[in-house]
């Protein structure tokens, strides 16, 4: 796998993040994804290509449609999740460390 920073870069875009989060609810076709977003269907397709290139999303044929889903084999999504998790956690940790010693712990 060559996924790494691309996954994080791909998710820095709010529309791609919205698409990614919708796919976290289950596999979707392009039309279904576009229906709930304020962007055109071709734009959704373009975003999906980026997500696929970053190893976050895979696709499969279902009759004449293509169904997109989070890539179960890629570590990209897990890495993206943990990256955010630790960034948030360390921000909270920094606040706790810098609280005055008078407060409990």
């Amino acid at each position: 796998m060559t996924y790494g920073a691309e996954a994080l870069t791909a998710l820095a875009d709010p529309t791609r993040r919205a698409i990614f989060e919708r796919l976290a609810d289950g596999p979707r076709a392009v039309g279904e994804l576009a229906a709930g977003l304020p962007v055109s269907r071709p734009a959704v397709s373009q975003h999906l290509r980026v997500l696929k290139g970053a190893g976050l999303v895979s696709d499969r044929a279902d009759g004449t449609r293509r169904i997109y889903q989070l890539d179960p084999d890629g570590l990209g999504a897990l890495r993206a999740y943990l990256d955010q998790f630790w960034n948030q956690s360390l921000a909270a940790y920094k606040e706790a460390v810098e609280r005055t010693d008078k407060e409990p712990q």
Binding site: A24, P72, L78, A80, E95, A96, V97, E98, D101
Partner: protein, 158 residues
């Protein structure tokens, strides 16, 4: 800092002496850990960090239930800490030692009241290919981060 495919890295600089930085990360873990980030059925009451190699990090619920989700692999205060991450992609305690990842935290004094904290969560590939199941199983409120909403909030904070 380098990034590899099977690890995540992050760092923070805190305005505190190195001893305090280490103590808050370990003994004080319950003061900063997100209270939604546990895999107990009950709400989280407290977190226990056993400060020695072989010690455990334990979440205790308000109903007395416990989940021990990490083992301390290195404990070198105030410079270094390594612990295992024994949470499977099914959001259960991972009992297979081949399938756990690990977290290393290094503390470096940048001044008498300033400390750099670097964190690496590595060996993520050991969790295997079950990320899709992880996604499905966090649909319930019992999942980490109270399910997908919490998950989305975490990812959405990018």
């Amino acid at each position: 800092m380098s990034t590899t495919d099977t690890a995540v890295h992050t760092a923070v600089v805190v305005d505190a002496p190195i001893d305090r930085a280490f103590a808050v990360f370990t003994d004080g873990i319950g003061t900063w850990w997100n209270k939604d980030h546990h895999i107990l059925e009950a709400p989280l009451a407290e977190m226990i960090f056993e400060p020695h190699v072989g010690g455990r990090i334990i979440d205790r619920g308000v109903d007395g239930s416990e989940s021990s989700w990490a083992r301390v692999l290195a404990y070198d205060p105030p410079q270094r800490l390594v612990f295992s991450w024994e949470i499977s992609t099914q959001w259960q305690i991972e009992t297979d030692p081949e399938k756990v990842s690990e977290v290393e935290v290094r503390f470096t004094a940048e001044g008498p009241a300033r400390t750099r904290v670097e964190l690496e969560h590595r060996n993520l590939e050991r969790h295997g290919d079950g990320w899709e199941q992880m996604r499905d199983s966090v649909g319930s409120d019992a999942g980490w981060a109270s399910g997908l909403h919490g998950y989305a909030a975490v990812v959405g904070a990018a």
